[in-house]
């Protein structure tokens, strides 16, 4: 075993686990047609495809991808708003790399950059501070995309900017919160879900409490799961056990996730941001499912600093919205692999390295 954070499980252990999983599936399917488990984390999407877990489990067990990729759930309007800012020669856009190629109604940030817009890719929100500090005559806007894992890091950068007196940096908040999306999916009953493979790193921050409604209100098996093959198969095993023995919010990824989450990270996030209503691609408006600036930090809000012109969204036939709700698998979209590929993506699920369409394209595309 490597002495880092790996699960340390050998392939043989994974095989034993799979055998056990398939045995329980067989048992559970005596009185039901099939079992649908949904993951809501782009890294799980990639891992399930990449390790071939979908093919290794009994066919009656379906693994569906939920709205777990931050870029994918960002609406066309939000993306257009960001791209619109890039067109302003007085503004430098600062972003995580996965936003660059997402198509807006007319073009992507990458295309704007090629035309001369100042768009810079960074690894940490803290990097934006140094840019803004070095050119204080220019406006810098950071694209605040991500879930509960990323929002605290951006909040920390805002606090640092305030501390350093940096005034030419703002954030365009497009953050999304996972629990309200889960509730929407469970309550809509459009997909019959038997359990949730809950995200490992979102849960590192929020812990188990925010998921309790899944068990208390919906009797839904739930398991916070890690990212190695053994983690995912064990998480599936724990969910199937819950189907037999009763639901709970379990933690498979115990080496990282504590039941209370990370209170320090939450404190930083809640100092700067507060829940707001937000629209998700494919799902629509959900109360309290996004994060906006608290009044004290309004100066950092790009929405208040700049004007946004709404643009009419382009109709493409893209079905990312349905893919993200588990209503269809990527190959069921007519554009998949034909008009829409990672080289020429039409929808965000094909662009993002964590999107369900990109995962299927890379690992599960049949060559027929």
């Amino acid at each position: 075993m490597e002495s880092s954070s790996g699960s340390g499980a050998s392939p043989k252990l994974v095989h034993s686990l799979l055998e056990r999983v398939n045995r329980i599936v067989d048992e559970l399917c005596r009185d039901r047609e099939g079992i649908n488990l949904m993951e809501v984390c782009g890294t799980h999407t990639m891992a399930i495809s990449g390790f071939g877990i979908r093919q290794a489990v009994d066919k009656r067990l379906k693994l569906l991808s939920g709205p777990g990729c931050p870029v994918c759930v960002t609406t066309q309007e939000e993306i257009d708003g960001a791209i619109g800012l890039a067109e302003n020669p007085d503004i430098t856009l600062v972003t995580f790399g996965d936003m660059m190629r997402v198509p807006g109604s007319r073009c992507s940030l990458e295309q704007e950059k090629a035309k001369g817009a100042d768009v810079r890719v960074i690894y940490s929100a803290m990097d934006a501070l140094d840019f803004a500090d070095a050119e204080n005559g220019r406006q810098f806007v950071f694209l605040g995309i991500g879930f509960e894992t990323t929002a605290p890091t951006v909040a920390a950068a805002v606090l640092a900017a305030q501390h350093r007196g940096i005034e030419n940096l703002s954030v365009l908040p497009m953050f999304k919160l996972i629990p309200p999306a889960l509730e929407k999916i469970v309550s809509s009953k459009r997909v019959n879900i038997s359990g949730f493979i809950l995200p490992g790193h979102v849960s590192t921050i929020i812990g188990t409490r925010k998921y309790q409604f899944l068990v208390e209100k919906y009797r839904m098996p739930s398991c916070i799961t890690g990212f190695e093959a053994s983690d995912i198969v064990q998480g599936i095993y724990m969910l199937l056990k819950q189907m037999k023995e009763g639901p709970e919010v379990a933690i498979q990824y115990r080496r990282i996730v504590r039941p209370e989450g990370n209170p320090e990270a939450r404190h930083i996030m809640e100092t700067v941001f507060e829940p707001v209503d937000a629209a998700w691609r494919g799902i629509g408006m959900m109360p309290g499912s996004g994060l906006g600036f608290r009044e004290d930090f309004g100066l950092f809000d790009a929405h208040k600093r700049f004007e946004f012109k709404p643009r009419k969204p382009r109709k493409t036939g893209c079905r990312c919205g349905e893919v993200m709700l588990g209503l269809i698998t990527p190959p069921e979209c007519k554009l998949f692999g034909k008009i829409c590929t990672p080289e020429m993506p039409v929808g965000p699920c094909m662009v993002s390295s964590e999107g369900a369409c990109a995962a299927y394209y890379k690992y599960e595309r049949r060559n027929d």
Binding site: S5, G8, G42, P70, V71, G146, T150, F227, R255
Partner: protein, 87 residues
């Protein structure tokens, strides 16, 4: 995007640390993991350590998995013997 990378802390200086992964070092913020010590592994997301890896939990889980694997092996062996006895 939520790809957390395990990084070993090799140097600590209040809110920042030097983390090492695969021989590469870079500065990370440890403001969200105030208990982190030199030698700890932390999960790093977008430049911030978001949690300390609990090595005891990792070992405990491995023990559970090994136990499960043994049970699976035993069951398989039982089924095989039963088949042989019949056949």
């Amino acid at each position: 995007m939520c790809l957390g990378i395990p990084v070993r802390i090799v140097e600590l200086n209040r809110d920042t640390a030097i983390g090492e992964v695969g021989g590469v070092q870079r500065e990370i913020s440890v403001m969200m993991t105030p208990d982190a010590k030199v030698g700890d592994y932390v999960i790093v997301h977008a430049g911030f350590a978001i949690q300390i890896v609990d090595q005891e939990e990792a070992k405990e889980n491995l023990r559970i998995l090994e136990q499960m694997a043994r049970a699976v092996d035993e069951k398989r062996e039982k089924v095989r013997r039963r088949k042989n006895a019949r056949g």
